[in-house]
């Protein structure tokens, strides 16, 4: 390791390291300053952490889609953020209908299940179509081409849904049953947050089970490892890839419903930022690695929630929450520079991200 450094370290490496260290230093400084200020009580911190976990659970489910597709096709499905958006945006109409029929609040569990099912179906449907129409023909193309296609598909889907459902904000009805808090001792947790955290955890377990223990999961993993060999072993590669997209899509659709439970508004652009953050989470945990996606999601969610108050407030930055997204981006850059394989990922051959 040392010999690599000695000979190959360039000026640019030094500069990058210097900037990285400076940022790390500022973060530590800010943290200490904030804690010393004593502005926040431990209850507030707990609140922030719980919010972070809820958000993180959502990121984790979306991240699964990115990580599965990357594992199997070695490409970033840029349009996954729209896969995420399609489910809840469509399901919002179903929810409206259920409200009109009086079912929504009378049978909340049934309503939730219906809405989840629709969202998962729509999202996976979009993901499936995406793969079939835009990605499959380009599997052997040089790497820039599918990337640009994905970007194009992303915008196309965004604006298609804008055209279909309108450019305005579509309110998602809230469930009476989920209004208010649950209290455990001194901890207050919003009912919605609790549902989201539990829902995300449940979904993660189910998905992990599918990937690890079912035949499909095994097929997915072998195609990720080595497409040709998997084909030689009799695995239908095309079908496996389709299933992968469908699974990632379903996960994103569920994430979408959880998202609108927390923030009851859907609109055509809602996938953009969560998409990038979920991608960051996938990379953070180790791209291609399913538990990594989950871990990355939770960590990112908490860091994003706690971060502005913890790191930035102490440095005297006004309105630190405005810079919330910056935190996520900086984490992304950091990981890709200093540890591209992520937390749980294996070292890739030449350490080139």
């Amino acid at each position: 390791m040392l010999r690599t450094w000695r000979q190959r370290i360039t000026f640019s490496d030094i500069v990058v390291w210097a900037i990285g260290l400076a940022i790390a230093f500022m973060v530590i400084y800010g943290t200490i300053a904030t804690l010393r200020l004593g502005k926040y009580t431990s209850a507030t911190w707990l609140d922030l952490i719980i919010t972070g976990l809820a958000l993180g659970g959502i990121y984790a489910l979306i991240a699964l889609g990115y990580t599965l597709v990357y594992g199997i096709l070695r490409m970033i499905n840029f349009a996954h953020s729209e896969v995420f958006m399609a489910g809840p945006f469509t399901a919002a109409f179903l929810a409206d209908a259920l409200v009109k029929l009086g079912i929504w609040n009378r049978y909340p569990l049934l309503s939730l299940v219906l809405v989840l099912a629709l969202a998962a179906a729509i999202s996976s449907g979009i993901a499936f179509l995406l793969e079939r129409i835009a990605y499959r023909p380009l599997r052997t193309a040089p790497r820039l081409v599918p990337l640009i296609t994905a970007i194009g598909a992303s915008f196309f889907l965004q604006y298609t849904f804008r055209g279909l459902y309108g450019s305005g904000l579509k309110g998602f009805p809230t469930l009476e049953v989920l209004k208010g808090y649950w209290t455990l001792g001194t901890i207050h947790i919003l009912k919605t947050q609790a549902v989201v955290i539990l829902g995300a955890l449940a979904m993660m377990l189910i998905l992990y089970g599918i990937v690890q223990y079912t035949k499909f999961g095994k097929a997915m993993r072998s195609v990720s490892e080595d497409k040709e060999t998997a084909a030689l072993m009799g695995i239908d590669v095309d079908r496996t890839i389709s299933v992968t997209f469908i699974l990632g899509g379903a996960s994103a659709g569920v994430a979408g419903i959880l998202y609108v439970i927390l923030f009851p508004v859907a609109h055509f652009f809602m996938g953009f930022i969560p998409g990038i953050k979920a991608f960051t989470a996938a990379v953070l945990g180790g791209i291609g690695n399913v538990p990594g996606a989950f871990l990355g999601g939770l960590i990112l969610g908490v860091l994003e929630s706690v971060g502005p108050s913890l790191f930035l407030d102490g440095m005297g930055i006004p309105a630190p929450y405005q810079l919330k997204d910056v935190i996520a981006f900086i984490i992304l850059v950091f990981i890709l520079i200093f540890r591209p394989s992520g937390i749980l990922g294996e070292r890739m051959a030449q350490a080139k991200a």
Binding site: R3, T4, R6, Q7, R8, R347, A349
Partner: protein
């Protein structure tokens, strides 16, 4: 005098030891071959020499200069050039452009020169294109300069890759399976050509080869690798009779039966 010396070079990938304490010396103006069964570590060795990989242990010297761990561009600028097993040309660039890129270490013009077209830059470009055309003629691709590299037939692509490698005026040329995919007459030509490179241009050549006919006919020294270890070294006659070598290729016990056949190859 040795052009290349590798001293106990070791390369590991995770738990796998792809190269184990390889000692090798390539003499000046020699044609030196590295052979061995698939997966023996031959290309890995090339990658260590060119700086694409950094060895875990050991050192590599180019004419007494320690080049261990240097980045590939530095290694090339110091005088080592290579071709690739699976031909890596710049497909969407023309034949001449491929060679001009190969000349990079000798072309000095940069951003400003490129924009202003000052006399020195223009002269450099003109000279470079002429040199490229000379190289094209040398490898037998005269007149094909403006074709897209990806449109050349296979054999010509191989020759273009060699021309590109020659463009940097290397002291040491690494050829990775230069006759792969060639029929016997093309192979003959390539053998002749490689000799010419050494005889006319004075380049030292280190090559990886699978075709025994080629190896035996042009090599002065042969190093045999198997599972990352050097198992034999010597001139063609010695290697052909070497039991360990025969076994490495054909399996244990083959030595006795085939010893005679190998000796008469």
């Amino acid at each position: 005098m040795a052009v290349l010396v590798s001293n106990k070079v070791t390369k590991r990938f995770g738990g796998l030891e792809a190269l184990a304490k390889i000692d090798l010396e390539v003499k000046e103006h020699a044609i030196h071959s590295i052979i061995g069964p698939n997966g023996a570590g031959k290309t890995t060795f090339f990658n260590c020499v060119t700086g694409f990989y950094t060895s875990e242990e050991g050192e590599i010297f180019l004419e007494k200069r320690n080049i261990t761990g240097l980045s590939p561009d530095r290694v090339t600028r110091l005088g080592i050039s290579r071709t690739y097993q699976n031909i890596r040309l710049f497909k969407n660039m023309t034949v001449v452009e491929n060679i001009l890129v190969g000349m990079h270490p000798h072309l000095k013009s940069g951003l400003i020169g490129g924009i202003l077209h000052d006399p020195r830059t223009m002269r450099e470009e003109v000279d470079a294109v002429e040199e490229a055309k000379r190289l094209l003629q040398f490898v037998g691709l005269k007149g094909k300069g403006d074709l897209m590299a990806k449109n050349l037939p296979y054999g010509q692509q191989r020759r273009l890759e060699i021309a590109r490698a020659l463009a940097s005026k290397p002291k040491l040329l690494l050829l990775d399976e230069p006759t792969a995919g060639m029929n016997p007459s093309e192979t003959q030509e390539m053998v002749h050509f490689i000799r010419q490179l050494r005889d006319e241009l004075g380049i030292t050549i280190l090559l990886i080869e699978h075709q025994m006919r080629v190896v035996m006919s042009i090599s002065e020294l042969i190093t045999v690798l198997d599972f990352g270890q050097k198992i034999a070294e010597g001139n063609p006659a010695e290697i052909q009779k070497n039991t360990r070598v025969i076994e490495a290729y054909l399996g244990r016990g083959a030595a006795s039966g085939l010893g005679q056949a190998a000796a008469t190859a």
